[in-house]
């Protein structure tokens, strides 16, 4: 089989709010000093899901990692290669910049079609920067494939994808014919840490780069030009909360003082 993992490089979500800055003139995030961009964590989990299926099958299943982004996104691709993926493709083109979920999915779907023999696409449930959670669904629609979102378990065998999805009040198990798309959630489990030797091997692997020309895409249909959602404003909301730390010589005294505040605020 041939699996694709979609991987996105994002600003480190562990950046403390105090270091989080926005340039309101360009509606973009100012990279925080001392924080390197990282692989979106849900994409690492999607890669783990693909790797476990390959290992369980014990066959020559190939895993290709796709990332749309700048040259720096090579690092995200190399991380998934170090985990055990076989090949990497960077979708890099100025024409891809500023794209919304639809424009991004258009590029990813074109790349998947170009690869040609893909059986399943694994995405994170959402990118941990914009948190839209729709690229996987849009890739599936663009390809005309079935899709299962927010999976905590994925199996692929005998032409069928079986997923267990996390719902608001429980879980459901679905079967769908492949080729199909799945988006994987944190309930799946932790992604593996590559060993040093795997990191060194991945560093030596060549990542193929593709542009809109390679994919046969019209620049007017991708990036900012192809976007249907217009970001009008990005800003840090004003916080008007000033915490009042409750004093007291003992925990009992602190607890009484806190409850007195809650009583005064009519919470009882």
């Amino acid at each position: 089989m041939h699996f694709v993992v979609c991987a996105k490089q994002i600003p480190d979500p562990e950046t403390p709010p105090s270091a989080f800055k926005i340039d309101e003139a360009t509606n973009s995030v100012v990279p925080a000093q001392g924080f390197q961009p990282v692989l979106s964590q849900f994409d690492g989990i999607a890669a783990e899901a693909a790797l476990r299926i390959k290992e369980a099958a014990g066959d020559d299943t190939k895993i290709t990692v796709l990332s749309m982004g700048a040259e720096s996104a090579q690092a995200a691709i190399k991380q998934v290669l170090a985990m055990g993926a076989d090949e990497g493709v960077l979708l890099q083109d100025d024409a891809f910049d500023g794209g919304d979920s639809h424009a991004t999915a258009t590029v990813l779907a074109a790349a998947i079609q170009k690869l040609g023999d893909v059986d399943a696409v694994f995405c994170g449930r959402q990118s941990a920067d914009w948190d839209m959670g729709q690229v996987g669904l849009l890739v599936a629609e663009a390809l005309g494939w079935p899709v299962a979102i927010i999976a905590k378990d994925v199996q692929i065998a005998d032409g069928t994808m079986t997923t267990t999805r996390v719902l608001a009040d429980g879980f459901e198990t679905l079967t769908q014919p492949i080729p199909a798309v799945v988006t994987v959630s944190n309930e799946f489990g932790e992604p593996r840490y590559p060993k040093l030797q795997q990191i060194m091997q991945a560093a030596k692997k060549t990542v193929t780069t593709m542009t809109h020309d390679d994919l046969g895409l019209d620049p007017g249909n991708v990036g900012a030009a192809g976007s249907r959602l217009k970001l009008e404003r990005l800003y840090v909301p004003a916080s008007d909360t000033q915490v009042e730390l409750i004093e007291g010589d003992t925990p009992e005294e602190q607890a009484k003082n806190l409850v007195a505040k809650l009583v005064a605020d009519k919470l009882f």
Partner: protein, 322 residues
Amino acid sequence: MARNILVVGELVEGALSPTTAELLGQSTRLVDGGSVAVSLMGSGASGAASSAFEAGADKAFTNDDSSYDQYNSDHWVNAVEAALDGVDAVLVAQSSVGRDIAPRLAARQNTAAAMDCINVTDDSGTLKVTRPAYGGNALAEYSFAASPAVATVRAKAFEVIEPRSGASGATVELPAAGESRTTIQGRELAEAVGLSITEAPVVVSGGRGLGGPEGFEQVEALAAAFGTSRAAVGSSRAACDLGWYPVSQQVGLTGKVVTPDLYVAVAISGASQHMAGCSGSKMIIAINKDPDANIFQNSKYGIVGDYKAVLPALIEAVKAVS
């Protein structure tokens, strides 16, 4: 300018879901002379239409086919597409249904969806949506370059309208469920722990700082002190991922969004993805031994201290006034 809005409705045991009523309420404020429609699918759909009319709908697209009771993506997408004629905007709850159907409907209509919105407004005739990004560190405001605009909206983002008692409207039959590439093999309900965290007026949540699943016994005892008919127990994603508490109780961007009168965060650092799930609470209080924990930036009151010492005292103090 008049605009027509379709709300993709959801039923809970045959009745209109609270968020569906909220979306209908906001739609009446946005249509500007246009009409509000609702789609209702599954057992009880045509019966629930009267509640939808009272909540603001002018027209209901319904089908009582029990095949729609369990959400099947292909079935629902195909049916709702039949209700989109002349529609300028589609509103859906940010629910298990909304997360799936909104992007697919947008793709089918060659338009875009904005997910997890906290506001939908009219700005001089242009529909705009606001949603958190970067784990709640930022707010993003969007307009749409294609029509219909599709948006999923958080629960409790909008007020319902005063019920229009006795209101009625046109009803149109949606097609029955057709083919689907997806077979639902089974569903299981998650272990429910007391009151629903999205409904309870008080939510007491525990995080990674509890140090282990046994820490939740104290968190549960504090909730019980507020009253079992009043308080529910939540958990941070870290604590759920560690297997300390059921996923159904997870508060945060990838869990549930809660808006209680009082949110008590015990040993939770307050990562922005957690705050995205509780920042709509009327009051947040935090108990954490790290005075620099981000949770204090978002809290009205805080106690800096080890929960193992603070909680037993707080449980007694709360019991004394409950």
